[in-house]
């Protein structure tokens, strides 16, 4: 080589290695069989490694490609229909004027209530099962059932929700079993086709996933951590509070994020409980953001009002006869995807914040 520095080395595959001089080919004798030489086997091992890497690459980018095609197709259909006005309008009979506002607001309230209901219950159950419950036959039975429940089709939860929350097992002969009001606040039983019925149903649906993911996260906390904490004179609760939960929190949050993303997109159980597809007001009749401040009493009515969600609106529009509604549906799908992306991004950001707090 001359002294002149080579400015850029061409990107090339691994240079051919000079063959290792083999005076006598290395052979291994095992199980009575003479195996290939080490070099030959090594070359094959490296090749297998490369093949595996390729398969993984393909799996990743294959799914990205499919998603890309899907989004592109939707964007093509929605082009010109996804306008700012679409986001803040009520649904109309005229596709050109139709909007998605009740769906966005309904989805927001529904998921908020679902999370409030299912996260404490799910995490609490997971902590109990992992940290406190003795491994008896009963807990094993419960464990098995939770795993089974995670696989039950969501429509079944919808039917359950309809019976248990919307109709309350048909206990009411007349329209309402209980109905009482304090000021403007009205509580009626059965819940009917309201946000709270939907949230309770989706909470049931998410619970098994939240429990299983949280248990997995708790189980992955090294036992040495709890031993070290206990040996320093911590109580069981302190050990759970200061060591186990902080370590398991990112994993738990992953489970919660996945469960809530799934809940955002759920349609079948909401169809089953009879949520509206066409509705021209938002839950609690809150007309604008400022009303949250000026009329806080309306917030109390949110859980007990009728509602629709973005997937329900999409479902409704797809079933419309007018062909232009297909464009409206495509626009709504894009909105749903964007909301999923934003909420997931936000949740992952929060999770990372907690992850940084643990100094692994």
């Amino acid at each position: 080589m001359s002294e002149t520095p080579t400015p850029r080395r061409p990107l090339s595959p691994l240079p051919e290695k000079p063959p290792i001089p083999t005076t006598s080919p290395t052979t291994f004798v095992g199980g009575g069989l003479v195996e290939e030489s080490f070099d030959l086997a090594l070359a094959r091992r490296h090749r297998n490694g490369r093949i595996f890497e390729w398969v993984c690459w393909l799996a990743t980018w294959g799914s990205v490609l499919i998603l890309g095609v899907l989004i592109a197709a939707m964007a093509w259909q929605a082009f010109g229909w996804l306008t700012p006005k679409f986001l803040v309008s009520m649904p109309k009979r005229n596709p050109a004027e139709a909007g998605i506002l009740p769906g966005i607001v309904g989805t927001f309230w529904l998921i908020l209530l679902t999370a409030i209901l299912s996260v404490p219950l799910g995490v609490g159950a997971a902590i109990y099962l992992e940290e406190y419950a003795k491994p008896t036959l009963l807990t094993r039975f419960i464990q098995l059932n939770i795993a089974n429940l995670a696989g039950v089709p969501s429509i079944v939860y919808g039917i359950l929700g309809f019976t248990a929350f919307v109709r309350m097992f048909g206990l009411a002969r007349s329209e309402y079993l209980i109905s009482f009001g304090i000021g403007t606040f009205q509580l009626t039983l059965p819940f009917g086709r309201t946000v709270i019925s939907g949230a309770l149903t989706l909470a049931l649906l998410s619970l098994p996933v939240v429990i299983i993911a949280s248990q997995e996260a708790l189980r992955s906390v090294p036992p040495s951590l709890r031993h070290a904490s206990l040996a320093l004179g911590a109580t069981k609760w302190q050990t759970i509070r200061y060591q186990i939960i902080p370590s398991a929190l990112p994993g738990m949050m992953t489970g919660v994020i996945l469960a809530m993303s799934r809940a955002i997109g759920e349609t079948a159980p909401l169809v089953a409980i009879g949520a509206a597809t066409y509705i021209t007001f938002t839950p609690g009749r809150i007309g604008s953001l400022s009303e949250v401040v000026t009329r806080p009493d309306k917030l109390a009515q949110v859980p007990f009002d009728s509602f629709t969600t973005i997937p329900m609106q999409i479902y409704g529009w797809i079933n419309e006869a007018k062909p232009d509604f297909q464009h409206v549906a495509a626009a709504a799908i894009l909105v749903l995807l964007a909301i999923l992306l934003i909420s997931n991004g936000l949740a992952i950001y929060i999770r990372q914040h907690f992850q940084k707090k643990i100094r692994w």
């Binding site: 090294p222 004179g233 911590a234 100094r359």
Partner: protein, 301 residues
């Protein structure tokens, strides 16, 4: 004998054969009478005021499920002294150590028979609060396990959970403990860094500092110097010698020289049995049992 300045207050092995005792009558004042009988009198009668008893196990058997890990252990651990536990791998040293602060309770399916007494109180009695017990009997594990927190918070943890809120007190204690465990100079500028970023030996010293910070009466140390270089080992040994003024220390070690350097008493375990226990000097220079001699001289197995 002049070799042994003070009569021991510890128990001897479970059942030393009477013939052997008789064969070496000059071995120690202890072996002059039957060991069990000599110990029956208790620490104060046999040893005067010099070495009162801190921990005693009587006829202790220990089981992991159906697997018996300890057989009939009778051992007396004197106060303000270092007792070394030696023996081949898997002989039950760690198991014995964990029985002394009830860390074995955490392991599913374990049980024991016999008594474990701390200051003459049965620590397995129903009225004993395990949390309070573990505050009195601190432990340094065989595998160092820092918390995924900052170095400072690792050492402060024991105080915080005990409800200590005084910031200056916590700060002073953290510094003192890190200094005692020979870690201060290496970490004093990075107390806020993650403890997981420390080297294996540093982590081990951090765990020692962490155990000291709760100010226990008894310190159980399971091979605390196994990952340390000679200099750090020397610092830890100095620390142990310093600590025994105020603490009762039980240390597991595979290093015979270390046991000889720092401990007053040594117990030799083998296959779940306590083979021999005695003054360290006596056990190393004049072991009563053939097994002990073989192990110490490296002819074991």
């Amino acid at each position: 004998m002049s070799l042994i300045p003070r009569p021991a207050s510890f128990a001897s092995a479970a059942n030393p054969s009477p013939t052997e005792t008789a064969a070496s009558p000059e071995a120690s004042p202890l072996s002059g009478s039957h060991p069990v009988a000599a110990n029956a009198g208790g620490a104060n009668t046999s040893g005067g005021a010099s070495t009162p008893l801190k921990i005693e196990t009587r006829r202790m058997n220990f089981f992991y499920g159906s697997h018996q890990a300890l057989f009939d252990i009778n051992l007396r651990i004197p106060e303000r002294a270092v007792t070394a536990l030696i023996g081949p791998s898997g002989c039950g040293k760690s198991t014995y150590l964990r029985a002394l602060n009830r860390m074995n309770d955490i392991i599913e399916g374990t049980r024991h028979t016999g008594d474990v007494l701390l200051d003459s109180h049965d620590i397995y009695a129903p009225n004993i609060d395990v949390v309070a017990l573990r505050k009195r009997v601190g432990m340094v594990f065989q595998k160092s396990t820092p918390f995924p927190k900052s170095i400072f918070e690792n050492v402060a943890y024991g105080m915080r959970i005990a409800g200590i809120r005084n910031r200056t007190f916590i700060q002073e204690t953290v510094e003192r403990c890190l200094q005692q465990s020979a870690l201060w100079n290496e970490v004093k500028d990075r107390l806020k860094d993650s403890a997981m970023a420390l080297s294996g030996g540093q982590q081990q010293r951090l765990c020692i500092a962490r155990a000291l910070a709760t100010n226990p009466e008894v310190l159980l140390m399971d091979e605390p110097a196994s990952a340390l270089d000679p200099a750090s080992t020397a610092r830890i040994e100095d620390l142990i010698i310093e600590l025994k003024q105020n603490y009762t220390i039980v240390i597991v070690t595979h290093n015979m020289q270390q046991a000889a350097r720092i401990s007053e008493f040594t117990a030799f375990f083998c296959q779940g049995r306590l083979v021999e226990v005695g003054l360290t000097k006596q056990l190393f220079f004049k072991p009563r049992e053939k097994e002990t001699e073989d192990y110490i001289t490296g002819r074991f197995g």
